[in-house]
Symmetry: C2
Subunit: 301 residues, 2 copies
């Protein structure tokens, strides 16, 4: 069972126990474009106590660089090298795990941020934001030439999703032998400023269904993202905690990586899901209402 | 095990045993825009022997009326009242099974043929081919007004699929209490003239994934389509046979309805799938290479 923390001593104890603090962003730091109360103060407390701060997001529509501007706009201090996104993880997976040969290409279903991360890793791609593929004009195989150099399809949230992109990706995945199928993340929905909308997992769903095959996912809860963090940040898992709002991504991700987990209730997960009659099988170590709750340690001092 | 038929006597015996002949179309009568050899002659033999002929298609992009023009173009005799499509089955399901009140509406992901069938059943709909919903412009909930009268989402093959349609459908299915989720059919792919493309099942897949919920399907193998046929055609299941090229739609549909099943190998299913080391668990009663094989009964006479 999760421990519900509420007293000043309990917040202090957590601050003492962990040196590295991983944060999910949407639902923890902000909701859509609204900063969650107390976040800036708590991150400031952590930094003043020399904690290592890392931001781990499944948002694949933005590169780490452009994601940083979101922090800036909301007045949250962050550095590009503290930010890890699922688009970056997908790019690193292609360059370092698959080691895609330089002569090969990736077909992208996704947006500019994913393309930027691929470009930074030196990966050649087609599709994506190319105007030819962002169309509602009819698609016919008679006009399509299969590029034999496409060796992977990578799929992230793409609000320009259309039948041409899906059909091309399907051709590569069925006709180019060994073509890799990668999804930045499996989130079924994402919290926009005004409510839930279909997420990246829903964008790769047509291909999963047509192929009868699941993609390799690089975002949370997959370990690929933690491997990316590990490659850049030295941390001791026993003294590392992840703060998230989603049980099946953030909390599971922490558990898969041997980290301590702290659930906040400012995002997707409701109180009901952890204390109700049918609680989730994914049980975080700790629960608190909001990240801002940690401010209590300074009020007392 | 299926019986492989090959002799004139065996074809004659089948013709004697069944009064009503149901046919899948794509992969049985034609492939894309190419008529399969011998089809016109065999249908002619059936009609001359006073067999009842019924065409049962999962194609939901065309109404029965517009599907008839396909028969005409390929020189295959057919009458509108012999054609049953999954779009028609969806419309009948809404009007007769759900009995959608006249004040309620359907949000459509699909094309003109589906709209035509809904209109013919007196069902009010939004979405579909409406230019407002056929766009790649960004979708934001801030500009969206939930129509409280939308009581069902019906989803067929839609080559104009886009994020606006998916997002609106997701809103209705999550925010309008009791909103029905209906798919014309679950086909993962469909055979275009130049090869396989993602099918109607792939178009509803993002909603299935985002909702964590499956739609009610009205096409084969669901019984809804057979209920539509039964409502118009009197037939004795014991003397009725269905000819199809797909095990998990046509043959399963026949088995679910207590009909005899005949697989042809001119479409999706390969010889390997029925006689190979890992045969499908769906076993048709009979197998023949092509519908045209039945011509042998006239060559002899």
């Amino acid at each position: 069972m999760s421990k519900r923390i509420s007293s000043t001593e309990e917040y202090e104890a957590l601050l003492d126990s962990y040196d590295t603090w991983l944060f999910d962003c949407d639902g923890v730091l902000w909701r859509g474009d609204h900063l969650i109360d107390g976040v800036v103060e708590v991150l400031d407390i952590l930094r003043r106590r020399n904690k290592k701060v890392v931001f781990v997001t499944n948002n694949a529509t933005k590169s780490r660089k452009s994601y940083k501007t979101k922090f800036d706009q909301l007045g949250v201090e962050a550095h590009v090298d503290e930010i890890y996104g699922s688009a970056y993880a997908a790019a690193v997976y292609l360059s370092s795990v698959i080691q895609l040969p330089k002569t090969k290409k990736v077909f992208v279903i996704g947006m500019g941020g994913l393309e930027e991360e691929l470009r930074d890793e030196g990966i050649t791609f087609v599709g994506g934001t190319n105007p030819t593929d962002n169309t509602l004009e009819p698609f016919t195989l008679a006009d399509f030439t299969l590029d034999p150099d496409v060796a992977a399809v990578v799929c992230g949230l793409d609000t320009q999703i259309n039948y041409t992109k899906l059909s091309k990706a399907f051709q590569y995945l069925t006709r180019n032998t060994g073509c890799h199928f990668i999804a930045t993340n499996e989130d079924s929905t994402y919290p926009s400023a005004h409510g839930l909308l279909p997420g990246a997992g829903s964008i790769s769903a047509p291909l999963r269904y047509a192929l009868g095959r699941d993609p390799v996912c690089t975002g949370k809860p997959a370990s690929t993202m933690l491997d990316c963090v590990k490659a850049k940040v030295h941390f001791n898992p026993a003294r590392t905690i992840i703060v998230g709002d989603r049980l099946n991504t953030d909390i599971l991700f922490g558990q898969n990586g041997g980290l301590t987990t702290l659930l906040v209730l400012t995002g997707i997960t409701t109180e009901e899901e952890i204390t109700g009659p049918n609680p989730s099988p994914i049980v975080p170590d700790y629960v608190t209402q909001a990240l801002g709750d940690f401010r209590v340690v300074e009020t007392v001092t």
